[in-house]
């Protein structure tokens, strides 16, 4: 994802003749699309196995809560990206930190949901629920780790104006994780 930051590229590829950014952007979008298909398969399986019914009562307050937290973290991620693009490193870092904390809060929320779940993985809804939230949480956790790396690097002044692709790409990944949840939330909690 942070493909561009590897200096080995400069000498390879067309380097100076055309910019790497559009190429990287296309690559990361294709990655998102491909990953989205995996999530789509899981969501489709959920409907295949249990129809459009919701066999268990879920903790709606918790669901709405973690959904709001994740949605809000997209805003902070957006603000961080915009700030870095305009050289406002201090604000950018603060917003990154907020994103990281909210991401962690989301993961903890999912973990809590798992601990209070009164269904088991071998139950048909449990099958869908645990594999979907588990797969998504794996992406959230890896996203948080990536964001921490970006946060630390930003502190060392690695992302001056015009060289913020690493921030942009990680923030895009974060939004992607949010988009997946945009579909998973109604699929698991509301239908």
């Amino acid at each position: 994802m942070a493909v561009a930051s590897a200096p080995a590229h400069a000498e390879h590829g067309h380097g100076s003749t055309h910019s790497r950014i559009p190429i990287n952007r296309m690559g990361i979008w294709l990655f998102f699309f491909s990953d989205a298909l995996l999530f789509a398969m899981l969501a489709a399986s959920r409907f295949y196995l249990t129809g459009t019914e919701r066999p268990h009562e879920l903790n709606q307050a918790l669901g709405l809560g973690i959904t709001s937290v994740l949605l809000l973290s997209s805003l902070t991620a957006y603000r961080a990206e915009t700030a870095f693009e305009h050289g406002n490193v201090a604000h950018g870092r603060a917003m990154l930190l907020a994103t990281i904390l909210m991401g962690a809060a989301f993961a903890i929320g999912v973990g809590f949901e798992w601990s209070i779940a009164h269904w088991v993985p071998s139950d048909p809804f449990g099958t869908a629920f645990f594999s979907m939230t588990g797969m998504h949480a794996l992406h959230v956790v890896s996203g948080v780790l990536f964001l921490i790396v970006v946060y630390v690097r930003a502190g060392k002044g690695h992302f001056p104006v015009g060289n913020t692709w690493a921030v942009t790409s990680m923030v895009m990944y974060w939004h992607f994780v949010d988009v997946v949840w945009v579909f998973f939330y109604p699929t698991l909690y509301l239908v």
Binding site: A2, H12, H14, I23, L38, M41, L49, P121, P124, F130
Partner: protein, 610 residues
């Protein structure tokens, strides 16, 4: 050797970490045995994979950059480059080709064991268990070879050259894709050593859920391979979209680039289906979910839908680059423009589109709803229309040409013959009334070997001989090449034509034993298979000897117009001394006024006279 040793050590350490942490959790929190084969492998393997990739050089040359640390300068030269992290697409192409040729030969030897067992009814040299393991191993390794060798091998080597690019769009990602494949092979071999898995390459649950632990390793391996396929596909799509030389419009792309693009689109769109299917089986095995457990309202048909959603399109990942290569070779060796170029491009894209809506023809006998039969019959048979266009292009190209029958051309022509049989017999399987009888019989085995071996592996051989001088800088031995061709071509017909008959007669596939009525044909098939196998002795000998001490090849021994032949053999590190400018069509033979395909810098390109 250093990188390999590093990779092995870090890989094993990673495995110990993952499996160890899991064991600790099991002992401390759950109070169970620390080791559970399925779970320990599933948790250890991802870390082993990370360790392996980091050890081979992924960390040193790439990963450090992610953390803002300086990456090491690349200093490896000579043959050691092939055992190291390397971002040159030519090195990666050779890595793919050699790795998968070795796996191909290994898998070929395995299937000879299978054939020897099937020579007579009754069990002779293998037990049922060993038979199933050998048959499953042959299945998955050959599928992997077929998916990866043309696109990963020749695609990597040739596509950037044809585009006039200095490398792929994501060179480090490219290296990562390649270095993910050795763990796949290792894992499959360990699975065989652990007693194998007996669910074939399709791994249908519930069998694959209740199967022995080799199945877990199979799933992890093939999941990794799916990742290779997706990352490779993304890399090709972006490369072809962004790295074309000046003047190389979509209408001037060599047809092989279109083939690589179509195949990449398919692997990019559909591979997640296989990944999801394998993941669900893995969840069922280790996490106690019940996707496929009918006692808990799971459904075996779910797997078949998700699995074939990828695995049918996968056959076009195999044959589309094959078609593209033979069209390329037919044009150059007939000295004629590729017939109906734009129609072929349309046919490729048509196949890409249709490939996604035909999967359920593998399920006519699966017990899926009756109303699905007719639509999938119609859609599947429609694939014959774009395929027919590709045949028109092949036949139109050789008509009124000047056919130069070197080994690559012989292989290319044989694809037209083989795939005619493969294509026509495919209709029998798309047609529900005949498929109800033929499904899962040797008719199917014969059909897909005619399409995949006849359509792709013959094209692979054409590609190997065609680009051998470019890749190695040396010429192969023509006599040995032709000997290889004739033995392989004749042996292939002798093996697979009788399989159609024995299948219709009532011999089903994936069996270790069969009624004695089918003895005669099976003995014949086994003997013919040994004959077919012998052709690869000539192949391996020719390749090894010619690579080491064949005569030095010219830059453009075939006097072909396309760009890869306009640079030296083998090409310099950045492919071209000066960035090429594309000035004409790639196949304008027989047209004295036609512009050259490319101009290299200021100097006129070699082969302009053509």
């Amino acid at each position: 050797m250093r990188p390999l040793i590093n990779a092995l050590v870090l890989g094993i350490a990673g495995f110990a970490f993952g499996a160890g942490a899991t064991g600790l959790f099991r002992v401390a929190v759950l109070g169970r045995e620390w080791w559970s084969t399925d779970l320990s492998w599933s948790m250890g393997y991802p870390f082993a994979l990370i360790g392996w990739v980091m050890g081979i050089g992924g960390w040193k040359y790439w990963g450090r950059g992610w953390f803002g640390l300086p990456v090491a300068p690349y200093e490896t030269t000579g043959w050691r480059r092939y055992l190291d992290w390397n971002i040159d697409h030519k090195v990666i192409g050779i890595q793919y080709i050699v790795t998968f040729v070795v796996i191909f030969l290994l898998s070929g030897l395995t299937v000879l064991l299978v054939r020897l067992e099937l020579m007579r009814a009754g069990m002779q040299i293998l037990t049922e268990d060993q038979y199933n393991a050998a048959m499953s191993f042959h299945g998955i390794t050959m599928v992997a070879v077929a998916v990866a060798i043309l696109l990963g091998g020749f695609g990597n080597y040739v596509v950037p050259l044809m585009l006039g690019a200095r490398d792929m769009a994501f060179p480090n990602l490219n290296s990562l894709s390649y270095w993910l494949t050795p763990p796949v092979a290792v894992l499959l071999l360990i699975a065989v050593a652990m007693g194998g898995w007996d669910s074939g390459w399709t791994a249908y649950p519930p069998l694959s859920v209740v199967n022995k632990s080799g199945q877990t390793l199979f799933n992890l391996a093939v999941f990794t391979f799916g990742l290779v396929s997706i990352l490779g596909g993304i890399n090709f799509i972006v490369t072809i979209a962004y790295e074309r030389a000046a003047g190389l419009t979509w209408g001037r792309l060599p047809i092989f680039v279109w083939g690589a693009l179509s195949a990449s689109l398919i692997s990019f769109f559909f591979t997640q289906g296989f990944a999801a299917a394998l993941l669900m089986v893995l969840f069922d095995r280790v996490l106690d979910t019940s996707f496929f457990d009918f006692k808990n309202e799971g459904s075996a048909l779910l797997y078949e839908h998700v699995f074939w959603f990828y695995s049918h399109p996968a056959v076009y990942v195999m044959v589309l680059p094959g078609f593209a290569i033979i069209l390329e070779i037919l044009a150059h060796f007939s000295r004629k423009p590729l017939f109906a170029y734009r129609w072929v491009v349309g046919a490729f894209l048509g196949i890409v589109a249709l490939s996604g809506v035909v999967w359920a023809h593998h399920m006519f006998t699966s017990g899926m709803a009756d109303y699905l039969h007719a639509p999938f019959l119609v859609l599947t048979e429609m694939i014959s229309i774009p395929t027919g266009i590709i045949f028109l292009a092949g036949l139109g190209t050789i008509w009124a040409g000047k056919l130069w029958l070197r080994t690559p051309m012989l292989f290319a022509l044989s694809v037209l013959f083989n795939f005619t049989i493969g294509g026509i017999t495919g209709i029998f399987l798309a047609d529900v009334p005949t498929d109800l009888h033929l499904h899962d019989t040797y008719f199917v085995v014969a059909h897909f070997h005619y399409t995949i071996v006849g359509g792709e592996i013959f094209a692979l051989m054409a590609a190997v001989y065609y680009w051998f001088p470019k890749i190695t800088g040396r010429m192969y031995n023509e006599t040995l090449g032709k000997l290889h061709f004739w033995i392989m071509f004749i042996g292939f017909q002798l093996v697979f034509i009788p399989m159609f008959e024995v299948g219709v007669q009532g011999m089903n596939r994936r069996v270790a034993d069969y009624p004695a009525e089918y003895n005669g044909l099976n003995t014949w098939i086994t003997l013919a298979a040994l004959f077919l196998g012998s052709s690869f002795v000539f192949f391996a000998w020719n390749m090894a000897m010619s690579w080491v001490r064949g005569p030095i090849a010219e830059a453009n021994p075939w006097h072909a117009r396309t760009l890869e032949w306009q640079t030296s053999s083998p090409p310099p590190i950045h492919n071209f001394d000066e960035d090429p400018v594309i000035t004409g069509n790639p196949y304008d033979y027989g047209q004295p006024r036609a512009a050259a395909h490319a101009r290299l810098g200021a100097a006129p390109a070699a082969g302009d006279s053509a």
